[in-house]
């Protein structure tokens, strides 16, 4: 039990800090830029990302375990993972529609953005390369979602300053945000001692 929990925790911490999808791999930058504009978007989108990466990681662990020996598995991975993510997306939407229709109405305009984005698919790929146990797959999936939430919150917190008049007009918004993410990424790389 202790080993399962320690593997889960180690993989989660890896996903949140060391292999942060946004800062270390530049995955899902467009979703970050969109989500950081409003607090409501931030909560809705990142709840979706955390949910989908965690559930899909559990399912991709099974496909990796039973089909990875197959010769053509590597080239079919995107199709298999997209199939899993799509199944999770459609089934969840049906359940939410049945039990909480008002919530679905509220999040409908951006729910597909939080499911079909580079961060979700990228997290599944990275975990597939790392391999590991069922606990580490779920831990990494959850960690990636939480790491993405952390990145989104850091952008949301700085949104006003990044769009202020102190920034030259041409750099206001997206360009300065990219530089800001770059500086955080540089700081994290230095902190973890990456070269």
């Amino acid at each position: 039990m202790e080993t399962i929990f320690s593997r889960f925790l180690a993989a989660a911490l890896l996903g949140i800090f060391i292999e942060n999808a946004a800062f270390e791999r530049a995955l899902g930058v467009n979703v970050l830029l969109y989500a950081a504009r409003k607090r409501e978007n931030l909560i809705g989108i990142f709840t979706g990302v955390v949910y989908v990466t965690t559930i899909s990681s559990a399912l991709t662990c099974l496909t990796d375990r039973y089909f990875s020996a197959w010769e053509y598995y590597n080239i079919l991975i995107p199709f298999i993972y997209i199939f899993i993510v799509s199944a999770v997306y459609i089934l969840t939407q049906m359940l939410v529609w049945m039990f909480f229709p008002n919530i679905l109405k509220r999040v409908k305009k951006y729910v597909h953005l939080s499911v079909f984005n580079c961060a979700v698919l990228g997290a599944l790929f990275i975990q597939s390369r790392i391999g590991g146990t069922f606990a580490s797959y779920i831990g990494y999936g959850l960690g990636t979602g939480l790491g993405f939430l952390l990145a989104g919150y850091l952008l949301y917190a700085a949104e006003d300053r990044l769009n202020s008049e102190n920034v030259p007009e041409s750099f206001r918004g997206m360009p300065i945000t990219m530089i800001y993410i770059g500086v955080i990424s540089l700081a994290l790389s230095a902190f973890w001692g990456k070269h």
Binding site: R25, N30, P78, I82, F116, G122, F171, M174
Partner: protein, 214 residues
């Protein structure tokens, strides 16, 4: 959206005004993460072009009666099927090692925003020829940005462009990293916006002067 009354589309709209990397940052991830040299950027640009154009063409054939959620999932599934022959072709052109080095970013091209959101909000609202013209603009805009960033990082980090030595008095290996990519793309986006806005202002000033003369 630059579209006149006859439904015509300006190719330059996707290349300049709504450039996916330098103007909106809509799909900067593969450029920052994978375009660390010219060869890698060409791999990404070719795959992006083939996957996006073919997927948009096939998805257009899907009936509109299908529920939005299912349709979006089908778009991603169609893109992931098209990914298979595209990767086989790239293995033949660039070699398996080069393609493997950017495989993570090639795979995520199947969920690019042109397929997942612009199809519904923009491309499928037009006639088929105009749709392809519009997509071509966006694809050229992405490809050019990707190749320019890849070439610049190649020159700055290794003082080389493909296999040609470019003698520079400095070398900055950090440009190959993700944070180097973020900072370079941010700086390029700022400069691009500055030049583009200045050109627009100059054009509108000369147009108003012409009107005054008349």
């Amino acid at each position: 959206m630059e579209q006149n009354k006859s439904g015509r589309v300006k190719l330059l709209d996707g290349i300049l005004n709504q450039n996916m990397v330098l103007m909106s940052g809509l799909f900067a991830g593969p450029v920052i993460g994978a375009a660390t040299n010219l060869e890698n950027s060409l791999v990404i640009a070719l795959a992006f072009t083939l996957i996006t154009m073919a997927t948009a063409g096939l998805c257009r054939l899907l009936p509109k009666k299908i529920v939005f959620s299912v349709r979006i999932a089908l778009y991603a599934l169609i893109a992931s099927v098209i990914y298979i022959p595209v990767i086989m072709l790239e293995n033949l052109i660039f070699g398996a090692d080069t393609v493997r080095s950017v495989s993570l970013y090639l795979a995520i091209l199947v969920t690019n925003p042109l397929i997942m959101s612009k199809t519904e909000s923009r491309f499928f609202l037009r006639s088929v020829p105009m749709m392809f013209k519009d997509i071509t603009g966006f694809v050229i805009g992405f490809d050019l940005s990707c190749i320019i960033v890849g070439a610049l990082r190649d020159i700055i980090s290794d003082n080389m462009l493909w296999n040609t030595i470019i003698p520079l008095p400095f070398q900055m290996s950090a440009m190959e990293s993700v944070y180097g990519g973020f900072i370079l793309v941010g700086v390029l986006a700022g400069l691009f916006r500055f030049v583009y806005r200045r050109a627009l202002r100059r054009r509108s000033r000369s147009a108003s002067e012409n009107n005054d003369q008349k």
